[in-house]
Subunit: 494 residues, 2 copies
Amino acid sequence: MSVVVEKWDRFEIEFAGPAEGNPFTEVKLSAAFRHGDTKIEVSGFYDGEGRYRLRFMPEQEGEWNFATRSSAASLDGIEGSFSCVQSRKGNHGPVRVRDRFHFQYADGKAYFPFGTTCYAWIHQSAELQELTLKTLEASPFNKIRMCVFPKHYDYNHDEPELYPFPGSPGTGFDFTRFDPAYFRHLEKRILDLQALGIECDLIIFHPYDRWGFSDMGQETDERYLRYLVSRLSAFRNLWWSMANEYDLFLRDDGSLKKDTDEWDRLARIVQGQDPHAHLRSIHNCLKLYDHAKSWVTHASIQRVDHYKTAENAAEWRAVYGKPVVIDECAYEGNINHGWGNIPGQEMARRFWEGCVRGGYVGHGETYVHPRDILWWSHGGELHGSSPERIAFLRNIVENAPAPLEPVLKPAASLFDPNWDVALGRAGDGYSLYYFGFCQPAFRVFDLDAKENYRVEIIDTWEMTIRELEGSFSGKFRVELPGKPYIAVRITRVD
Amino acid sequence: MSVVVEKWDRFEIEFAGPAEGNPFTEVKLSAAFRHGDTKIEVSGFYDGEGRYRLRFMPEQEGEWNFATRSSAASLDGIEGSFSCVQSRKGNHGPVRVRDRFHFQYADGKAYFPFGTTCYAWIHQSAELQELTLKTLEASPFNKIRMCVFPKHYDYNHDEPELYPFPGSPGTGFDFTRFDPAYFRHLEKRILDLQALGIECDLIIFHPYDRWGFSDMGQETDERYLRYLVSRLSAFRNLWWSMANEYDLFLRDDGSLKKDTDEWDRLARIVQGQDPHAHLRSIHNCLKLYDHAKSWVTHASIQRVDHYKTAENAAEWRAVYGKPVVIDECAYEGNINHGWGNIPGQEMARRFWEGCVRGGYVGHGETYVHPRDILWWSHGGELHGSSPERIAFLRNIVENAPAPLEPVLKPAASLFDPNWDVALGRAGDGYSLYYFGFCQPAFRVFDLDAKENYRVEIIDTWEMTIRELEGSFSGKFRVELPGKPYIAVRITRVD
């Protein structure tokens, strides 16, 4: 009998080993996985009660062999094998960078991130977690930003059911051990997301903390990273977000809990430990990280200006030379916090502004709720008007012949009326113009006179697409609705 | 019998003189006006048909004497006098800078510019000009940007009835002479505006030109400036705008018709020639002028970013140390040009964003019209939704106890929810908060616990002001409408 594992699925094997002492710190376990000339080193982890595990995500079909090494004799030199078979429908593998500014699954299928944010949804009641999954299933979102650690902040004062380390807020935590139940719960939720086709953009550290998890010291941070990566890297729908708001890790005396060098060091530990090279980034509050650094696979950006956000996508692409994900462009909602009360129109507009510039934008929602259940942190239900429009946009983006690339205009001038429009192209036969809050009643287009074009007027708020009769060529005038949030899609007719 | 002139009104005297040759270039005329120890040199001008004029705006009450000097014997050594008396109601004198960032009339009355733009309204049909004046009378606008020269641009292809120089587009123009009828018409319109309490922000040069007026050469430019200033500086409701879009004066070969040094030189001619020190500025297209220069009395700004405009007012105040007038923040309308199709909501928002930051914003309108009559250039009627809201704002600003000064916030942080709000103060007992496109459902204010405050919720779009019952003190929560375009006015109750 041979073990069979689907490509990009998880091979997992459990061993019995020493339970005495502190296995988390005292026992080392790793394995080499081999396939032809390929050899991949993988770390195992202690899962409590004398159980040790190895996880591996095969990326090549065929026969794989492994052999363990361990500081514990009972775990050392164990050999085994499994067959990696073709992936089934729905399993496209992990997401990788494509064509410098975009993404695709490992099987080549394009992936366009339309993410949302529920920082602490896995730390809410079981009932609420199930509701969140149900909401996500019906939503347009294919990525979620969420934290490993529980969250302490306005609207977030409940204690979580579990903690990542043994102990409690009253007695303190034993940072030399982990609570495997905590991580098993996290893993279950990652798999729940995987079943829904949702990437988990996992936030490894965050500053909203009353338990000390944001300032555990280098040794504990490193042990935590190695443990986390050993447990999770075999999950294909995983992205590593080193931090939420890396620049807000401040102690009461104003000193930094982790400076930029430390973030780089921690990120390189993740990079070195992860045999499957999941996407890696780090998220800012006030100051963008230098996403040009080699360990960063894509820019993960919170807007730094209240007014101008996703309109910067093309500039950020140029600066970093990487995919730009503006995964926090403010929240649709009406709470007191200035980052959490933009209307659905403005959220949808930011998505469009970013997308036609070849970037990607993330959603979040913070409506006042009678029981303080805000999607942004707790999950639950969506109440806003933007998700429906984001679904509409996602459909357009996914049906374009290629990822959108921004057409950079020369500075607006006396002679160019197009100050108001952002233009994305998907190949030279597909143009998507977006007018944002402007309301032109018409526009003259000047295209190739030797080609014929189909013209469609898209009302991005009403979610209608109206094709103009006939085909167009050369210079032509298009009547527009004269209201905000209009796009024009022009496709070459071959 | 003695001549009596109201303070800040126009003393004008006509002399017969030589009509032969070219009096515009050949005859020099000036006068010294004296009042006690005050002596002011004023240039006269040739008004055609052997008539010469001297104009003067007395700024001190009492007896004034004058004596002419001229290269023509018949105009030389003429003496006279007049009495300057107290100004009547409605005559507050010219507008000056007040408290570094604001304006007031010469009599000390505060002046808050709420301007509009009709570049070429005086070059339209007489009927349309009268309609424009009628519209202005009912409007909230107390300043208008308008050009001396006719305008050539999209929607602007008609020939004007008159030209500033003798000649025609077919035969060419004699740049060594002026057509006094042209300037008399301009003066009539300036007086019409004065009667309506409207400042004329007169654009001396502009680039939208098919007649050659934007590239006449230094000698003609200078003669034109001296002639213009001699004719107009005695009009109290006059501001000098050296150029509209100074940075678009380009020849076909790409060379500059006037560079920055030349603009400075020309501005200093105006400054030196104008005995009444009217306000002076210059207006950009793509690149802001260096408004810190000494001849500039206030910044005159066209927004250089499509998305973020009046939100920069406080930064620009800090950079230039002068009043900031964002007199072109885009146009409410729906034309094809990207600068000319923002909705009324966005125009009104820009006014508020600028005003609460201690700046001033200008209006313009460009709605598609069956006969191509667009307020922006031609005047006529207003069709938009912003003027009514601008009137509402003007009333609020004019009834504040002092001009609004921006409260500069520290960078948005984890602990400050007020990312979304701009705050202006008029003295320490009056605060005006503006939430722009954000829609908070409530906000907690933290004010002096020893004082009592009145709180009013202002819906800037619906134009309602609702005072909350009771008085407030210390830290208190205010329920807000949870929709965009809301302001909160908090006034200390003494």
